[in-house]
């Protein structure tokens, strides 16, 4: 990482895009806009994190949501049962997710291709089933926040804005992180692994270490936003926390925008959530929004597998400079 990297216009275009989008609800001060953009920013963090593993390293995680869920549980447990405040709980949630990735990474990152993807599903399901039985986390009923808790943060309305700001900052931070990883030596090693893991080893890339750190990096922020999401939500239950479907929506976002690019997950998250919003509010599509999203995914896979940004970068190489 050198300062030279930070002068890339593409990075700043991306950051500006996130910041402008994020400032919109702050300018309008409308709660409904804030909720909409909150979902988008949350998706940006999750998709962009996943991209470090999926897009840079080439490992398909179908169960990435396990980090979001575990982070959420650890955070809410600390807030509700141990009486911690939001800040340290947030950090603890991120660390718990990172630690899980570190431990899992030692084991399942040995698996290649589809086997890794399946193992991640297995782990998410095992975790969900386990938490369902884990009494400290409330078993099947989960944990619920006392409404009074929000008073520490200036009441519920203020707390919602506070959480929004944090998620916005995390989204911007995540773009930087994603960019720094991509343009670093570490990132070069990851991309070598993505293209040909055996060849990368022969060239001296310490693949187990690189993969594990990529996994950890892609797990921490989902853990942090898990705490924020469920804190805002007020309660957490196993099926919400470890929703395999959300995991796959994240894959769709990354694919839609263009995997392996910095801008892609952002575009994918915004595009997907916007589309979903449109479908949900349309009388015609409200009921079959899932089918329409599936059809969209299928069309992307079949016809523009590189995603929107990837397609632009292939088609117009000059774009590479401006869209990282």
């Amino acid at each position: 990482m050198s300062l030279r990297n930070l002068r890339n216009p593409g990075l700043w275009i991306t950051v500006l895009a996130v910041a402008l989008l994020g400032l919109w609800p702050i300018v309008t001060q409308r709660a409904s806009t804030r909720e909409e953009i909150f979902t988008v920013m949350l998706s940006v963090v999750l998709a962009s994190s996943l991209n470090i593993l999926l897009g840079y390293t080439g490992y398909v995680s179908f169960g990435h949501i396990v980090f979001f869920g575990l982070g959420g549980y650890v955070g809410l447990y600390l807030i509700i049962v141990q009486g911690w405040s939001l800040w340290p709980s947030m950090i603890a949630g991120g660390l718990a997710a990172g630690l899980l990735a570190l431990l899992l990474g030692q084991a399942i990152l040995r698996l290649r291709g589809s086997y890794f993807a399946l193992a991640t599903i297995g782990i998410n399901e095992a975790m969900r089933a386990f938490i369902n039985n884990f009494e400290p986390f409330g078993g099947p009923t989960g944990l619920s926040l006392n409404f009074q808790t929000y008073n520490q943060y200036g009441g519920a309305a203020n707390a919602l804005w506070l959480i929004y700001y944090i998620v916005l900052i995390l989204a911007v931070f995540n773009i930087f992180l994603s960019y720094i990883v991509k343009t670093s030596k570490f990132g070069l090693g990851l991309m070598a692994i993505r293209e040909d893991e055996d060849a990368a080893e022969v060239m001296g890339v310490i693949t187990p270490r690189s993969k594990t750190w990529a996994y950890v990096l892609s797990a921490i922020l989902p853990g942090v936003v898990g705490v924020l999401f469920f804190f805002k939500n007020g309660n957490i239950e196993p099926p919400q926390a470890f929703r395999l479907h959300l995991s796959i929506e994240l894959l769709v976002m990354v694919m839609l925008g263009g995997y392996g690019t910095v801008f892609g997950p952002l575009l994918g998250a915004v595009g997907y959530q916007r589309l979903r919003g449109l479908l949900l509010t349309s009388d015609l599509f409200k009921n079959i929004q899932l089918a329409v999203a599936g059809l969209l995914l299928l069309l992307i896979i079949l016809f523009i597998p590189a995603g929107a940004v990837g397609w632009l970068r292939q088609r117009f190489p000059v774009v590479r400079r401006f869209i990282p």
Binding site: V60, A126, P239, L244, A291
Partner: protein, 311 residues
Amino acid sequence: MCLSPSSQPSVEKIGSSLSKAVFRGGYMDILAFLTDGLLIGFVYGIAAMGLTLIWGVMNVINLSHGSIIALGMFALYFLFVSLGINPYIGVVLVAVLGLLLGMVIYAVAIHRVINAPHLSTLLATFAVNMIIIGLGTTAFSTSPRNVDFSLGSMSIGPVTILGTRAVAAIASVLITAALYYFLYRTTLGKYVRAVTDNRAAAELMGIPSARVLAFSFGLGTMLAAIAGGLIATFFPFTILSGTTYELKSFVIGVLGGVGNPLGALIGGLILGTFEGIIPYFLPTSWVPVLEFILFVVILLVRPTGLLGAKK
């Protein structure tokens, strides 16, 4: 799609409540648990066979597997409820529909990406899953259905066997035998095996690999649909129920070995037994925990399956 365990009839819960109904106390009731598990295991085996057949032949993990199982359940339901067709004749019709559906899915969604990186086929099949679940939820809602059909039951000592389950188990064995006959005794079956072994070489030999792949995919979805149909004869279900069986099929797939039909059947029996025995020692809610841990452990230790892959 909602994966809440409370919104779908869970096999474990129903299995154990039935077992409790025939509870005799002492060591005898373990026999009841075991029988329940084993009989369901046969059907799990058929579902898993569909998954691993496709996986073995074309190295595609079919993530629409669960939704096709659910479609099988609904197809049987409507054939029985609306047209009054006997469920076992219904299963045959469901099989045909499953075969055709699979070939269509292959042509539309898979063929174009069959040689692309595995992510593409995973996502393509998942997209199909989303489409089916999305349309299915709209058409059938997510309220549970039930095929009201009974063949009575039979008691041997502490063990009570439901007729529908016994027939499903027998049907599963026959289907496995038929699959073996098809794969090893018919020309088309030999083509399927040739394409499994080495697609490029098979093409050089003049085997129309695209059509064989489409047919194999259809065969896999046919098995999924049959499994769904058989399950519908004894468990209530919703359009989302397939997910549970899809996940079980993954577990069985790695247990029995990819592309090994007999392995899938044995894997199904092992899983069924496992599910039957665990509730004897632990609350049933621990069953999925152990199942998925077992799944990940097998993947790590022996990714080709405990019983070996058929190559």
